[in-house]
């Protein structure tokens, strides 16, 4: 207790409660529901039980569906929100059929003949200053769920489904990987007292070191039963690693405990392929069991499946033409529901086209893991092993990897090597786009401009490359999503520092180095291509923030508002040329920068990108559905989508950030993505759309009041016209001394306020006292960093709208002008898009 439910590893059903305690809790739950008066619909109640004496406490009650309702629905097959909706319109539970069995009513309580483990996924690497201790404030950004026949099996499956680089419950190679300062027992003991994302791995280190279950329990307060289960895993590993040989019985025993092939390979210094081959030769294969709400008491035809090493398999191959769609795993920063949208759209399209759509995913928060979204659902980790078993069982026409983000993409080459047909764009083309050298060749052939760039496999190489390219440079590891460990370096010292702190570089893990184009416009272009070579632009999005801000964190606008037709045309042509050169069948995303009249190609992704849902909604055409169809051989001409749709209205996407949850984190945007969601505003002008997007992103702009401006020297000239507009709209402009002098000299009355270190009252006090309605602040550089960091923190804490870039400040002034000059009207998306012809 004390760790937010969303941040806890949770297990269903309850493992260590007797029926008496279980029923007492059920009685209390029913009593609360009756007393509060929940007439119909979902409800969530949290209890705590004192493990020493069974004392039961109610923590909270939510008379609505909650985050755990989604989890409970997936864990049991009982769709709480769906049933709740029917109850809300007047049905009774016994009038609603159990959607899984079809033959029994919904007025029952599901029983499980399996164990479900949910494991949160964190993103502290993106918020290095944030406190990693887990508390009552939720800090995880996603979760994986795994189903097995035993706790041990589900626990290990859940951990490998996390996709955090571990193949199950394995310790890191360095103490630091498990958030330990060193390898000492003292460090372990200290760490175990604090819940952190890595504590589960620290527990393994502790048990491996021989700490007793009693001691680990004492330190961590994790129930001894769970520690006992973990001890069994540790013991089994040790026995397996030291055996002379591994016979079928030993291998099967380990598989029944949930060990992945990869884990077993590591234990005996083999390769994953060795283990798989021997396992297949010995016919040790998973069986697939159904989640049926009733523990097998009634027949069920709903193929909601999970793997287990047991005897009998259910949900046999249907014999229909089928397609396997790989989902995107747990949500994380840079890979979230956008890809779930794409997968779900593809599933819907394939089902319409008469294919059996088979979904594989491990994320309980998604629509793709609803048992009725696909024809067949495998709730499984997205590892090579788990996917290969499914593909071998289902023998589909092929596998779609390009809609689920980096998760399935990373499996592409291994799947292909195992003889699996990849639908759509070929693995080789995907590789070209990721491989700097191969891509450079294509870019040269097509006559495309790229920022000067290089690849390095060592620090020395990187420094050399940067010297050649010219600072500032943008560095990042290859094969990452969301700008993980992406950084702008202005000099060799900071580049050196990058390798010391942010990323490692090696032969296997090269880094990419690009010239950073300061003050460039950035543009995303999404397009779709078919096997006949037709390419249609889905949308051109202009980033509102300048180059240097990750595309996922930048607001963007479709259609673009400040780019000339010539440049737009150039980007369209280049996108088409790239799609053709890479023989894309499906989706492609290209990122461009425009500086001094030159269009540069920054990045090509021959797959669904994060922007697909936004573009699809902006233009009214579900691009992911179309992508699935072209992957199955239809042409865009057949489908009737041959022309780019440029909407006669404006759509603005704004990113949503979790900064308020991570105290101590600086909200200044950079090349590493940190947003966890996005919103869209739609209207007939840029200003109005931007205003709506800000409002939706909980950054609602003021119509009047006082605006505080404090910007670095570089931005002073840019901010002047913006300040003037605010002044003309009647805002009182307040600025720190330097900015204030600069503005006054240009005829803008701007009163001066102290910086934080200059005395009081200062600009921080203004924010805290509620005397500022909008903050425009750009980082002032190293010396004053603390000063303006404090300002941004205060703005977040006191819910004062803020912008940290000049372009966003300018957009905000447009938005406020628009808000002041007109009354808001309501128009549905369907009304906006009434004239758009959607392909059938």
């Amino acid at each position: 207790m004390g760790v937010h439910t969303g941040d806890s590893i949770t297990v269903a059903p309850a493992m260590t409660l007797t029926d008496r305690e279980y029923q007492d809790m059920r009685d209390a739950a029913v009593a609360i529901i009756r007393e509060v008066g929940v007439e119909a619909g979902g409800c969530n109640i949290q209890f705590a039980v004192n493990p020493l004496d069974g004392e039961m406490l109610v923590i909270e009650m939510n008379p609505r569906v909650s985050r755990s309702s989604a989890l409970a629905s997936k864990a049991t097959g009982f769709p709480i929100a769906r049933i709740g909706a029917k109850l809300a319109v007047g049905y009774r539970l016994d009038e609603i059929p159990n959607d899984i069995t079809k033959t029994t009513p919904a007025s029952f309580e599901p029983v499980l003949d399996y164990v479900v483990v949910k494991i949160p996924r964190f993103a502290f690497e993106k918020f290095p200053n944030a406190d990693p201790r887990l508390t009552t404030q939720m800090k995880s950004v996603g979760e994986a769920m795994a189903i097995g026949r035993t706790f041990k099996e589900a626990f290990q499956k859940g951990l490998r489904a996390l996709e955090n680089g571990r193949s199950g419950w394995t310790v890191g190679s360095r103490p630091l990987d498990d958030r330990l300062p060193d390898d000492s027992v003292e460090a372990l003991r200290g760490a175990l007292r604090q819940p952190t994302p890595e504590r589960i791995y620290q527990v393994k280190r502790a048990l491996e070191r021989g700490l007793s279950i009693a001691e680990v329990h004492e330190l961590s307060a994790i129930d001894p039963w769970f520690l006992g289960q973990m001890q069994e895993l540790v013991d089994a590993e040790r026995a397996y690693a030291t055996r002379e040989s591994t016979d079928a019985r030993a291998l099967r025993r380990m598989k029944r405990m949930g060990f992945s092939d990869r884990q077993l390979a590591d234990l005996r210094d083999e390769t994953e392929a060795d283990v798989r081959e021997r396992r297949w030769a010995l016919d040790i294969r998973p069986s697939y069991k159904m989640v049926d709400t009733c523990a097998g008491e009634f027949p069920s035809e709903t193929p909601y499946l999970y793997s287990s090493y047991d005897e009998e398999s259910e949900g046999p191959r249907s014999g229909r033409r089928s397609v396997v769609i790989l989902g995107s795993g747990p949500n994380r920063i840079g890979q979230g529901v956008e890809f779930d949208y794409c997968c779900v759209r593809a599933v819907m399209a394939l089902r319409e086209q008469g294919y059996e759509a088979i979904m594989v995913n491990s994320n309980p928060e998604t629509v793709s893991t609803d048992y009725d979204t696909s024809d067949k659902l495998y709730f499984e980790p997205l590892t090579l092993e788990d996917v290969l078993e499914i593909v071998d069982r289902e023998k589909p026409e092929g596998v779609i990897v390009q809609l689920g983000g980096q998760t399935p993409l990373k499996l592409t080459r291994a799947l292909e090597a195992a003889g699996v047909r990849i639908l759509g764009t070929s693995p080789d083309s995907i590789d070209i786009a990721e491989d700097r050298r191969r891509f450079d060749k294509i870019a040269r052939e097509l006559g495309l401009q790229q920022p000067p760039n290089g690849t390095a496999t060592s620090v020395a190489e990187a420094l050399e490359a940067a010297e050649r390219i010219g600072y500032p440079v943008l560095v990042r590891p290859s094969y990452v999503l969301g700008g993980r460990a992406m950084q702008i370096c202005y000099d060799p010292e900071s580049l050196d520092g990058y390798f010391a702190t942010a990323a490692r570089v090696s032969e296997e893990k090269p880094v990419l180095i690009d010239r950073f184009l300061e003050d460039a416009f950035e543009v995303d272009v999404d397009a779709i291509a078919d096997s006949a070579g037709t390419v249609v632009i889905g949308g051109v999005m202009q980033h509102i923030e300048d180059a240097g801000i990750h595309s996922g964190d930048s607001a963007c606008v479709l259609p673009p508002y400040l780019i000339g037709e010539k440049d737009l045309q150039a980007m369209r042509e280049q996108t088409v040329a790239l799609a053709k050169a890479l023989k894309v069948v499906g989706l492609i995303n290209v990122q461009y920068a425009i500086k001094d009249g030159v269009v540069y190609v920054l990045e090509v992704n021959p797959r669904a990108s994060r922007t697909i849902p936004f573009v699809s909604k902006a233009i009214g055409v579900p691009l992911a559905s179309l992508a699935a169809r072209v992957m199955m051989g239809e042409t865009l001409v057949d489908i009737g989508f041959t022309e780019e749709i440029v909407p006669p209205y404006v759509c603005v996407k704004e990113a949503v950030f979790p900064f308020s949850k991570f105290q101590g984190t600086d909200p200044v945007l950079g090349p590493e993505m940190r947003s966890t969601g996005e919103v869209m505003g739609i209207s007939d002008s840029f200003g109005a759309s931007f205003a709506k997007a800000q409002l939706s992103a909980s950054n609602g702009l003021p119509l009047e009041g006082r605006i505080l401006i404090t910007v670095n020297d570089h931005d002073k000239a840019t901010v002047t016209p913006i300040a003037r507009r605010f002044h003309e709209m009647g805002f009182e402009v307040v600025a720190t001394s330097g900015t204030s002098r600069f503005l006054k000299a240009r005829g803008i009355p701007a009163s001066s306020v102290f910086k934080v270190h200059e005395g009081r009252p200062n600009c921080h006090d203004l924010i805290v006292n509620g005397d500022v309605q909008l903050l425009i602040n750009t980082p002032l550089g190293k010396h004053a960093q603390w000063d303006d960091y404090v300002l941004r923190q205060a703005a977040i804490r006191h819910h004062v709208p803020y912008t940290t870039t000049m372009s966003a400040a300018s957009a905000a002034s447009d938005a406020i002008l628009s808000l002041r000059s007109r009354r808001a009207t309501v128009k549905t998306l369907q009304e906006w898009q009434a004239d758009i012809v959607v392909p059938a």
């Binding site: 007797t18 029926d19 039963w225």
Partner: protein, 371 residues
């Protein structure tokens, strides 16, 4: 636990289907009807419920033994089941009430536990074909001895087990000064029934199943209770006459499970063997009058024949409850006399407490009559 300590074992069903698993303690050959229960918690209550007497119980919940065993949860003096089949028996346990581990507790009572079985496959098989007899034993393949034992085993149909599990001697339970006196016929009574009567202000005299109506009435009961129990209700041939004689005196009667079936038989109904019965804690039961649904605890393989409209041959009985999964009779009420019964277990243990108010309902009848 290392491989060495485990002994390969099997379950062979009468239709020839074989299931493999392991034993920790080598068992004697055990033959019995194989049934499954979907209760997720309450294994100790299940194993001590006399209604499971003579049955090998398959737990569909895959992890059993996690919270150990204690002295206060049993529903009778000893484990009653013939054998237990689980997917995984926990090697350790954790609960503040735990006093020991389940594995040892069962082996001390000489009850074999077959572990590592694909219990879902077994459950689906029993659901599809129906409950049947099976034999458990040691080894990878069934021995000739085991097969012979299986062939010699009588079917549950026609088996009077109530007479075997009933108390040898009458005994009393509860506060001797309690205002109401309930006389309970023990066909395999669960302790929680006695606890609930006690909590509701009753003292209880528990009688052996074959006690005559005369002897029972001589105790001047304020109400008579017919308990749950194992086996075929139709085989308890002496019970209906006894119950009829008590009913004739206008004494309020309440029956649960086997007691409910006996009431059905007493007033002219028939009982049938169900394909695989109802065993678990999530059975939806509708009160015919109100339409209200209760989530109930159940454990029965026989049922009173009938439906929402009534029990054929028993015009005096009204059907008060039906099962929403399959429409079977779940509750009966006499149209004129203060007599009612339910097929499910309002005393729960294990299972939900939705139906507990039935005890109060019975006592209201008792109070009214007593004045």
């Amino acid at each position: 636990m290392t491989d060495r300590e485990l002994h390969p074992g099997f379950l062979l069903l009468e239709d020839g289907t074989l299931f493999r698993g392991v034993f920790r303690t080598p068992p004697v050959i055990t033959v019995a009807e194989v049934v499954f229960t979907t209760n997720m918690s309450g294994y100790q209550e299940v194993f001590t419920d006399p209604s499971y007497r003579g049955q090998i119980v398959v737990m569909t919940a895959p992890m059993i033994g996690n919270y150990g065993v204690n002295a206060s949860d049993p529903e009778s003096a000893r484990p009653q089941v013939a054998g237990v089949i689980v997917r995984e028996l926990s090697n350790s346990y954790s609960n503040w009430r735990a006093e020991g581990d389940l594995g040892s507790w069962l082996s001390d009572a000489q009850i074999p536990i077959l572990e590592e079985v694909d219990t879902r496959r077994l459950t689906k098989h029993l659901r599809t074909i129906g409950s049947m007899t099976g034999v458990m034993g040691l080894g990878d393949e069934p021995s000739a001895e085991a097969i012979a034992a299986l062939e010699a085993c009588p079917s549950m149909e026609g088996l009077d087990l109530a007479t075997r599990v009933t108390t040898g001697e009458r005994y009393t339970w509860g506060n001797p000064d309690a205002p109401y006196h309930i006389v309970a016929y023990d066909y395999g009574i669960k302790r929680n029934i006695l606890r609930l009567f006690d909590e509701n202000g009753c003292r209880i005299t528990v009688l052996p199943a074959e006690t005559s109506a005369e002897d029972a009435l001589a105790l001047a009961p304020d109400g008579v209770f017919l308990s749950n129990g194992p086996g075929d209700p139709a085989a308890v041939t002496y019970a209906p006459a006894t119950v009829r004689a008590i009913a004739a005196q206008g004494v309020p009667i309440f029956g649960i499970c086997l007691g409910h079936q006996i009431l059905g038989l007493t007033f002219g109904g028939e009982t049938i063997k169900m394909s695989y019965g109802h065993r678990g804690g999530n059975q939806p039961v509708k009160e015919v009058g109100s339409g209200r649904v209760l989530i109930t605890s159940q454990n029965h393989g026989f049922a009173v024949k009938g439906d929402e409209d009534g029990v054929p041959g028993a015009p005096e009985l009204e059907v008060t409850h039906v099962n929403l999964n399959d429409g079977t009779v779940e509750g009966l009420k006499h149209r004129d006399l203060p007599i009612f019964s339910v097929q499910y277990h309002p005393e729960a243990a294990p299972g939900p407490h939705d139906a507990r108010p039935l005890f109060e309902e019975f006592l209201a009848t008792v109070r009214t009559r007593k004045g």
